[in-house]
Amino acid sequence: MAMAGCEAWERAILDRVAGALPDGEAEALQAHLDGCEHCRAQLASGEEAVKLAALPAPSEAELRLFDQLPGRARAAFRERSQRAPWGRPWVALLSAAAVAGLVMVVGGRHGAAPAEPARVEVESSELVTWALSDPLEDQDELALAGAADDVDDGLVETGDIPDLDLDSETME
């Protein structure tokens, strides 16, 4: 049964589960735990959940596969670089400048004065927008994965959720 004031220890218990309990609080929390079965159960419950959700250490077979990564990744990188040199930024800029120059030359031959100077815009990739984005809302995205059209959506997600109020949820 929870003792009066147990709610005040919730944050410290969860900090201890996280392995991030400040040194100055460890002794006081332990003193409370020694006399509070309810909070000991809460601590054990949190630790068990984290232990169950944790991944096992990599096996020897996995480690051998990991060792292949640098060589394979480097080969793939070299192949991509050779296959698509236009993917490099300086090549893209030179290409864009060449195209812009060609347009101006051709336009000049036809006597058409450009309305305004040519502008070269480099747009960010969708991947980067997606990788730098934050969620619009805190919802279960995996549950939505069955929808036919949302696997690659969420590329433009902005904003961040505010700091959560720990008091809004209490441990069962």
Binding site: A49, A53, A54, L69, P70, A131, D134, D138
Partner: protein, 201 residues
Amino acid sequence: MNAGQRLSVIPGGEAPRSVPDEALWKAALSGDDRAFGELVARHQLLVMRLVRRYARTPEDARDLAQQVFLRAVDGWSRSFLRFRQKNIPFRAWLIRVAVNLGKNHARQLARWALEPLGPEMEPPAPGPLAVEALEAAERSRRARAMALQLPRRQREVLTLRIDAGLSFEEIAVSLGITANNAKVHYHHAVKRLAAQVAKEG
């Protein structure tokens, strides 16, 4: 970056640890595959730890990790004008890409009704404890599935913490939130997970 500068980064072999990631990153952005390989070697364990939760097999995890490194460089090179100004450390950028590619990979598996298996576990030896071991493995498998069902931020913070052992400060930099916010998300993730584990028994 010209060829002479490239050679100064990696003078004919492996780069010394004193060469910062960002210098290797710049060399890789110019197409230097040795610099890219050095970056992979430095961070492969971190990335593998981050992506193996979302993979079905160890081979799948290795291939996903390779994609993380390629996309980390490729994505940055395509956005050099806009995002280079943010001065994000390479490691934080890498973590961010790994988290998002892992998420997308898991979503695609879910779309095909395939559950990420996580790392392969050794089968228990036959004997009186085999049943208990199998039950424990099943409970762990269910808890890992629950972790993937957590709200996005909670899932990200929890997995960065327990899979890669990142500090809340580094998690915060990688996800673009505050350290306090990261810790609060972790707290909520643990509470939710503990409640679900207790409910399932």
